[in-house]
Symmetry: D2
Subunit: 141 residues, 4 copies
């Protein structure tokens, strides 16, 4: 398992008339968290796209437990539960500064080769960078 | 069951670097569809809020089956599967002009009284406007 | 001079904590107005891009006179004040349903050939479609 | 004069079909820069609003000189050219990591008392926090 935490402040642009982070903007928070989680292990999503590997989102599930309010610093915890093969899963937990759980979510992405115009397996480089986080636990006992 | 269809064109603002409708913007499409579905039976969400009834989204589930492309006219079909009580459910299907299914989704909203600061039951006016769509089929046979 | 009016309702997604249309979202309203203004005379911006002519915005000036509120139907009046050559100008006036002037704006776009990677003149087809709106008045008296 | 620099990375959510930061999203970059510029001298915009002082934008002027691209870290330099009285001005310069100037902009905000429902002067606390940056240079030589 690999996990990462990103902080992001709720901007005025993202609030709605209730003063809440609009429910549609969480997707951008998830995106930021997974992109930075990958950058932290040396994978730039931008580089994958330069090699014509796109990662469109196929599935998203969100639970909105409590509102994220204007100017709050939100802690987005993202977790990759298993090594990607044909799909890549990310799980998210968003908390405010007081540690209150605001939102949980799940996204599933696929790998798509824009040149071949078809789904492909996870790039080897990505799998190799992630493997150390997944092999260790399986070695125990 | 009550259902409604809204058309909405994918704008440049909503596209991303892939030329797709960004996955985070679907939530605004769902919002537009459910607001117009209610307006069509004489319920303005704005009026509910003026009486301090908010309807925050508690749950959202989306499947992205095919991309919605720039300038495409998307048909958003929204369906209210059951009469709201403590919760209100909406189901969505998005298709392009060729009828291709692009996206399916589900959202669950609750009713929250901003003055009482607690969840409440669906406003009677909303339930009454919807009831005719739900009682009729049960009378048949 | 060529002018066109588009109506667009302020969505919850676009409101901010003040209950106003967020100032950053007006740009999407201008975009929608100019794209539909061109569509009305038979020019699809999408087709220009398919022929690798992009129209990036180079300049924008906005005055925010009164807020556009949630669920208001905004009338966006867009005007092309002169035939495009190297640049294309659009002027906008946004009013609410009561006719109150909310916003005035100006944008200047250029034509950029993505294949040649350099600015180009307005496509002949676009100029020809617009010409009738500009030559007539000059012929009078 | 008071100035401040904020860094912000262009997200996928903010790109458009050209792969550029969409022109409408710059407004959110300006907002982030001015809010953080004020936070750095001890003024939280959130606190002003809690005392019912809103700061709506009245005027915005932008020049788009070169595109900000996906995943680029943009340096937003914001400058308050004069002490606010009835209005508050901000000037912005956006550069990419190579120092290339991408965008310049100007916004003018006013102070509005949501309780009195009328424009007011700049809050004394804000003026006092800014005054040192404006009086000092005039004392020199």
């Amino acid at each position: 398992m690999y996990s990462f935490i990103l902080q992001r402040r709720v901007s005025y642009a993202e609030t709605d008339r209730m003063g809440y982070l609009y429910y549609g903007h969480y997707a951008a928070y998830y995106e930021a968290a997974r992109v930075e989680a990958l950058r932290a292990i040396g994978i730039r999503y931008r580089d994958l796209e330069d090699r014509h590997i796109l990662m469109p989102v196929r599935r998203m599930e969100c639970r909105f437990l409590a509102p994220a309010l204007y100017d709050e610093m939100v802690h987005i915890s993202v977790r990759i539960p298993r090594l990607p093969e044909l799909r890549m899963e990310f799980m998210y937990e968003l908390r405010n500064e007081q540690g209150k759980l605001l939102n949980t979510a799940f996204t599933e992405l696929v790998f798509y080769d824009a040149k071949l115009k078809k789904p492909v397996r996870a790039p080897e480089e990505l799998v190799e960078k992630l493997r150390p986080y997944f092999t260790a636990p399986e070695n125990t006992n």
